[in-house]
């Protein structure tokens, strides 16, 4: 192929990429960064400054909501890892060849169902007039119906449910690549189960663990439906604050500052996670 034609096709292939990343990702991020630095003085009159950020840091409600969101997201990520790892290990290593694909597909079922339907299912199960409460009363285990919605425990369970698949999928694909001979060698050299797990399996699965944790954490911190529907009015989730600033109060300047705060914060956690484990974004998240 001639050089000109090759150059032309490169430009043609580059164009959609540049338009997409430029117009829909980079410029909009610059846009909220810019808006977050503005302060409305009167109609169509703005001044620049850090006031929106000062307000954010000065108001304990906002600050605490971000911290609470972060803390609960980390907890959800940890729980998803602890609960998901045995499942992934079973699918990748213990299940027989034939049942493996079926188990994997079963894990993916909730992935195909909208967040909204999943949260709605939990509401039907857990609320005061819901299935579990009614059934427990009927069996005489409890005396009167109990409300199981609108507390932190339920929000955490709902979030783990929503994100655990994104933990299991990368773990399964990493563990499937592991040679069983490695395990046998570990046992033959006198390692106990715990030693083999700690010294062989977990180090091998590290890229999968990191990628699963990153996706899980981002999805949790950015989730909106589950905390609001299962946590009710006092779920105080940070994305809800952003929505309130934007849509309810129509205060785009402060909403943008909140958005930047969330983005900076989550990016920092992802960066720290990658740094601590010596992985890179391209080798973990992009793998599946």
């Amino acid at each position: 192929m001639s050089r000109d034609a090759s150059r032309l096709s490169l430009i043609l292939l580059f164009a959609p990429f540049v338009l997409w990343i430029g117009l829909l990702i980079i410029l909009p991020q610059v846009g909220i960064g810019y808006t977050s630095l503005r302060e409305k003085i009167s109609w169509n009159e703005y001044s620049f400054g850090l006031k929106n950020y000062v307000d954010f840091l000065g108001e304990p409600v906002y600050r605490n909501t971000l911290l609470r969101t972060a803390w609960m997201s980390i907890l959800v990520t940890a729980l998803a890892l602890v609960m998901g790892f045995p499942i992934a290990y079973y699918i990748a290593k213990i299940a027989r060849e034939r049942s493996r694909a079926a188990l994997f597909l079963m894990c993916l079922i909730p992935l195909w169902v909208s967040d909204l339907v999943r949260a709605y299912g939990w509401i039907v199960l857990l609320r005061e007039t819901g299935v579990i409460s009614t059934a427990l009363v009927k069996w005489g285990i409890i005396n009167q119906p109990i409300e199981m919605l609108y507390n932190d425990m339920t929000v955490i369970i709902g979030l783990v449910y929503t994100v655990i698949l994104f933990m299991i999928v990368p773990l399964v694909s990493t563990l499937q690549g592991m040679d069983d001979a490695l395990l046998e060698a570990g046992y033959n050299l006198g390692g106990s189960r715990l030693t083999v797990l700690r010294r062989i399996i977990i180090p091998y699965a590290m890229p999968g663990i990191v990628s699963g944790c990153i996706i899980t954490f981002m999805l949790t911190a950015g989730s909106y439906l589950t905390p609001i529907l299962l946590g009710g009015k006092n779920s105080s989730w940070f994305t809800e604050q952003i929505y309130n600033q934007f849509i309810t109060r129509y205060n785009w300047e402060s909403g943008s500052a909140f958005g930047v705060a969330l983005l900076v914060f989550t990016s920092f956690v992802v960066w720290a996670g990658l740094r601590l484990t010596g992985q890179s974004l391209a080798t973990t998240v992009a793998k599946d």
């Binding site: 045995p86 929505y243 958005g259």
Partner: protein, 283 residues
Amino acid sequence: MQKSGPLLFVYRAYMVIFFIFLVSPLVAAGVFAFNDSMFPSLPWQGFTWDWFFSPVEPKLGLFHDDRLLQGMGNSLYIGLIVATLSVAAGTCNAFLFERKQFPFKNALYVLMVVPLVIPGVILGISILVFASMVANFADAQFGLFLTWLRPGIPLVVMGQFSFLTTITSLVIAARLQKFDISLEEAALNLGASRLRVLLTVTLPFLFPAMFSAFVVAFLVSFENFNTTLMLVGSDAPLTITMYDRMVKVGSTPVLNAVSVVLMLGSGLLALLSVVAQRPKKSA
């Protein structure tokens, strides 16, 4: 494997409990669509199709509920457009990163993955803010009213496109990576033009991946809530309509009926994409 009996039993029990945990909310959402009651809760009042087909008010069925049907139509429309656009862009990206050499390739590759790690709400508000800035600028400078840059279906399409393209690019690039380049060379040596090679050799090879990327993009678009919520105008897609109903009216079994239709629809599509991927494994 070095697993003893009782331990394996406990392990299996854990697997079973986990799968019950996975399906129970879905079953709960589905089953109560068929309960002959005004509320999606026990006791069981008998089986009914009313929440799907009843044409009269107290139990207005899903297929007679204009708002929900309208929402479903909007979701379908948005989903098809977004899936088509993101598969087209994803195919270009796949060729760009698999076949071409250019400076800063690694950095740009990371940039391509980045939309996946930006929270959906942020993608939504940033596109909302940026589109409004452009629209205000056009209004102030040229007196143009760019209504498509105000909340509505075009913005929803852009918002969903912004992160779905990453998914389609990765899926299609993974397939292109497996392509044996000598097939193209053979076709070229036999006298085919570049375009003809692309149309008769390379694209047919990529087709299964493009198809399943299309299905995934369509499903994710249909189910998306976070990004859409920030960009939606008066033509709300189904998830937003359903959420409004849930928050404002409270839950009636018609929402369970919607859930059943959604689950069946996405189940069928998922099956379709699995079947389309199947020949790839034997090849």
